[in-house]
Symmetry: C2
Subunit: 380 residues, 2 copies
């Protein structure tokens, strides 16, 4: 049997997911051809990646110095790369709202879209899933939780009756509110099980990340919020579960390593043997534990789900507010427990619009960023 070489563009190659995507592609020679790379401010790393993968198209942020390489490439904006006819699969690993434009361009062009950018679905899930459906695009989640659900749904003809998103609980599991008020950015950046970027690591510590994932799941799997449940599972072995009409539950398990969900999205519907991927070692897994989240100590999960249920521009405002609150916490300007407080306060003042077009979604995000900055300023 022959196999298809997929022509891939990776947007956000210098971030954590981007780098791991290229690791996976490198470990599976002959399966993928890297046609496009879009990097961020780390032009030294981008230059190395360009030299290694020799892409035809490159996007780099307009800094004074382009990537220091003599390799030849064509400069192409991210959205054009995302819809280019010579690209089959677009990996969207750009962070924040910068992922929205390329995601929309890729789904409108009917691509296979390996989506690691949370904001696309959280802020504009309605628009993006509708466009994907209309244009025959396939959105393939790269998150470990949504990848788990996707894997569990493969081959099932019916809809899930329930989705159970697992959460490690982060570094502060079982902390009291008083103790949480004193945690430092250094402590918050030490995630017990996952290797991820800074923003998502803090979001994991507040459980905001799980709230954003609930909203993503609502769009990815067309399921009502009431049928999505979050369970704390500190071992991060069960990546999520699905309950079906007959009461049967399927779970996907694996070592906590982002390369596994990345590879599944790249190789789908096939699974490829990759000697670099870790395997579960049942000699050392004694127990898997589960418990409900503490919504009182970690209100971000509740706040996010409420914003998701309200819909309209609320989730966009949630994203913008959280991004600035996390920045301010990392900069030592606010306490860990100020993150939910500021986000909730901003959302309380937000004048939402229902069924917003993209411009208004982005405007809501901007508004919330300003609002949190203003709230922080008022306080200090």
């Amino acid at each position: 049997m022959g196999y298809i070489v997929k022509r891939v563009a990776v947007l956000g190659t210098t971030g954590s997911i981007g780098r791991q995507t290229l690791e996976v592609i490198d470990a599976l020679p002959g399966h993928f051809s890297v046609i496009g790379l879009a990097g961020g401010r780390n032009t030294t790393l981008l230059a190395e990646q360009i030299e290694k993968f020799q892409p035809r198209f490159v996007f780099h942020q307009e800094t004074k110095t382009p990537p220091p390489t003599t390799a030849e490439y064509e400069f192409l904006p991210m959205e054009e790369m995302a819809r280019h006819p010579e690209i089959d699969l677009v990996v969207i690993a750009t962070s924040g709202k910068w992922g929205l434009g390329p995601t929309l361009a890729a789904v409108r062009a009917g691509k296979q879209v390996a989506l690691a950018n949370k904001e696309s679905l959280v802020m504009a899930g309605g628009i993006i899933t509708a466009e994907a459906k209309r244009n025959g695009a396939q959105i393939m989640p790269v998150d470990s939780e949504h990848s788990a659900i996707w894997q569990c749904l493969e081959g099932e003809s019916g809809k899930p009756s329930k989705i159970i998103l697992t959460a490690s609980g982060g570094p502060f599991l079982h902390y009291s509110k008083a103790k949480l008020a004193k945690v430092t950015p250094e402590q918050a950046l030490k995630h017990p099980s996952w290797r991820m970027g800074n923003k998502v690591t803090i979001d994991s510590a507040t459980l905001m990340n799980k709230g954003l994932e609930v909203i993503e799941a609502r769009w990815l799997f067309d399921i009502h919020f009431d049928n999505i449940r979050v369970l704390i599972h500190p071992q991060s072995i069960v990546h999520s579960m699905v309950e079906f009409a007959d009461g049967s539950v399927k779970a996907q398990l694996g070592k906590p390593d982002m390369r596994l969900p990345i590879q599944y999205a790249l190789s789908y519907p096939e699974r490829l043997a990759n000697p670099h991927l870790p395997r579960l070692d049942w000699e050392n897994i004694k127990e898997l534990t589960f418990e409900p989240p503490d919504l009182d100590a970690f209100p971000c999960l509740r706040i996010a789900v409420e914003a998701g249920k309200r819909g309209g521009t609320y989730p966009a405002a949630l994203c913008g507010a959280d991004e600035i609150a996390v920045q301010q916490f990392l900069a030592g300007k606010i306490k860990f427990t100020d993150i939910p407080r500021l986000v909730e306060q901003a959302l309380g003042e937000h004048k939402a619009i229902s069924r917003p077009p993209l411009e208004q979604i982005l405007a809501a995000d901007d508004w919330a960023r300003d609002k949190v900055m203003q709230l922080v300023g008022d306080k200090s």
Copy 2:
């Protein structure tokens, strides 16, 4: 959308699996039509089932009194029922080697075969899977473990790299050999999590059942013995797991209730909502634990896998020897720890034939029964 009413024959209706099969059918009106029922010695129960389901065909063991009912039916031998053109799906829930003939008849007639009879695949897995392939029959496992694996494999294009069969460990988990020598049939019949017949309950207590399941898995999923692993999981929530080429693992979970795997085989590829089926209650599941089996205290697992690996008539001799040993234990004639001793001794004296036809498989079973009776007689 319309749906198909499946025409079903249930063989072994008065046993535990047979009764639960009829419970499931009764709970899903309009989905199944019971065309045939084959019962055992409990003619009173069989008569009730005949009156309730009004089957066209009935088989009952030739006792002096036929089932006490005035309902009209046509008497039909089990093998004829299994291949009857008006039947789509045959549930084989007869116990012991009596399942072999009907299973073979059903697969030769290209039926959907919901297989609860362990001996069919353990004793004659090579013949039965080859005939199923040749005639386009589909063997659908009814065991919770194999159903779990089957569910995890749905929609997967590649072969599993590993199968992890879970085992509750039975009522004597962590018992020493010395303590096991003193257990009574009453204690052994109290299974901690499953409602099953007597023979399989004792086989669960010795772990022989898990060994037989390893052999079944080898045939059902065409996988090498070395890639099948057994893990003790006392909560009986994870019914089994599959590891794929990329290291991803899928598990199927549910309350320990045989009606779930029975229903899945009946309704496949659909899943049907059934209000009588229990659902996992995550408020009360705190932990799932796993540990390797103690092959020293529970040698039946090792003995069975060895017989499976040797192949030929060894697995048939294993079944015959175990059946008599379990009978003798239940009758109070031998100790619990005599079961593996007698089975191993019989297998040690067995003169096996490779690639045996069905007659020789049945002859090996007979030989082993006589051998164990003789060994028990010699001792007492």
